[in-house]
Symmetry: none
Subunit: 324 residues, 2 copies
């Protein structure tokens, strides 16, 4: 079995400098003094790095520039470094999302490479490998691009393969659980303001697929909303109860499968009645348009894409600002 550490990514130091932002001399110094990375070598002795090394260097660079001492963190794993930076961000207010240093085209290209890797790992049920690729991708692309250029396309591709019958439920289950477990790292790390608008996210009953809901949760979190994520497959009463209890301003539902019966329309009508007129209802997902009629009937907002959803959130945000 090919293991994910031995994949086809091989970069010379000049490439690593460009992608990690760490100068070559420093990379070598870190290796010499602390074994921060341990690249393989060509026959001639040139260093050969992989994606993981790049991700590491990027994180180490960020951590040192935030005051951590390289000697103390050089040996930490990728995960530990992420934890370190997350904790760091939690305890200090500076919201500086100002680190765009890779062009978007380059980003898209890189993301595509990662998608392929993730897909083959998924097919062979190698959760560790998926996770490892995700980790690297998050570091390299940043959380935003990770979601937009990797997670969303991956989800789309999975949806297609699902319809074509190439994908089994177990694949989808495993991948979902990997993504869910990474939500914590992905999430923007500052606590939303006390008066941030509040959103409850779920999927209606009999809708088991939660990937869409997860992505929606992440997007909303990045937008500064205060999220109550309920996971998939809940009846209207439960969702409404959560809305009341958390005093939410809006509910977002993800619907990805069209059912012939009338369960979904019934649930939506019931939910809308329960939450009342003051709470907005947003419905998205690949099957949302099949329920167009009901949605219009109850005055629900539809979102057909990530950008759509963002726009909706922004609009609502203005409306609900400060209404606690």
């Amino acid at each position: 079995m090919t293991n994910y550490l031995g994949d086809a990514s091989r970069y010379l130091i000049s490439t690593v400098v460009k992608r990690s932002g760490v100068k070559a001399d420093l990379i070598r110094a870190w290796e010499r003094r602390y074994k921060a990375v341990t690249p393989t070598r060509t026959d001639g002795g040139h260093r050969v790095y992989n994606d993981q090394d790049i991700a590491r260097l990027k994180l180490l660079n960020q951590a040192t520039s935030e005051g951590h001492s390289i000697g103390q963190i050089a040996h930490l794993s990728l995960t530990d470094l992420q934890k370190l930076l997350k904790l760091e961000a939690v305890n200090s207010p500076p919201p500086a999302p100002n680190r765009g240093n890779v062009s978007s085209t380059n980003n898209a290209y890189l993301a595509d490479a990662y998608i392929d890797k993730c897909y083959s790992a998924m097919m062979s049920f190698d959760a560790r490998a998926i996770e490892s690729h995700f980790e690297n991708a998050v570091v390299e692309l940043g959380a935003q691009a990770f979601m937009e250029n990797l997670l969303t396309p991956l989800l789309t591709r999975m949806g297609e393969d699902w319809k074509a019958g190439n994908l089994r439920p177990s694949h989808e289950h495993m991948t979902t659980s990997v993504i869910r477990s990474m939500v914590y790292i992905l999430r923007s790390n500052y606590t939303p303001a006390a008066n941030a608008p509040r959103l409850v996210i779920s999927t209606p009953i009999d809708q088991q697929h939660e990937l869409g809901a997860l992505i929606a949760a992440l997007i909303a979190e990045f937008k500064g909303w205060h999220i109550t994520y309920l996971g998939p497959n809940l009846p209207a009463e439960e969702i409404a109860f959560a809305v009341k209890s958390s005093n939410a301003n809006a509910v977002a539902l993800s619907i990805t499968i069209t059912k012939e019966d009338h369960v979904i329309p019934k649930e939506i009508r019931r939910l809308k009645k329960l939450i009342g007129r003051d709470v907005a209802l947003i419905v998205g997902g690949s099957a949302a348009e099949d329920y167009k009629v009901v949605l219009e009937e109850v005055g629900a907002l539809r979102s057909d894409s990530c950008d759509d959803f963002k726009q909706l959130l922004d609009d609502l945000s203005v409306k609900f600002q400060g209404s606690s």
Copy 2:
């Protein structure tokens, strides 16, 4: 193996200053005069602190600024310091009804306090608060104790409240999703050996509750197994498919709800037939004993507690060692 969240991170004094809010000179003075913290040293003699030290300093700082004299409290344990400042620990709006069940040992007492906090946060759908309590608890208790003294009792209590009707599905859903997202952080990130025994974890069809399965996954991961976690509610074919694809040595199922129909027994029989005799089948969860008959019939292993499960894993581990 080495790191839970505790000793993974080592900080120099400048970082500690930023995180704790105590000036460097003062930290050293406190150490010199009262041994308030006892950092290790680098070869060169620089002080190296850990998360607990930082937590301590934070608390000490808070306590002194509230009038306590440093000389009197410097030697107190983290627990005692927390008790000292217990009135300040209110950061969630709804004051929780405190179920006063105080245990004997400090650690258990501490865990109990966290359980209460988590429970009231859960009741008010404050996912952020739950997460924050979990984070603190992991740092304070260590991952092992976190699971055994907090997560497991919490789960048990949820089960009881569920039966008593005090808990709604939405509560359980939200809490599950928080725990799932924390799994990533909890996991020791050491990559299992290539020849580590492989385990697939899921719950049978119609078993929506996955908290037991999650804890099982964590335990197995700590034991060095290579895990493929599938999430809840999968038919036998899917689980078997994942077993074949990942070349697993064993399957673990969590069953928490007893159904009157014969779905579960049928699923178990089918699963056992599909995976064959060479793959072990482990079944646990609060409702597992209700299916005793079937389980014995197919030769499944039963685990009634965490310790039980650990024992089982160890036994199997020996058997499967190196068989890839």
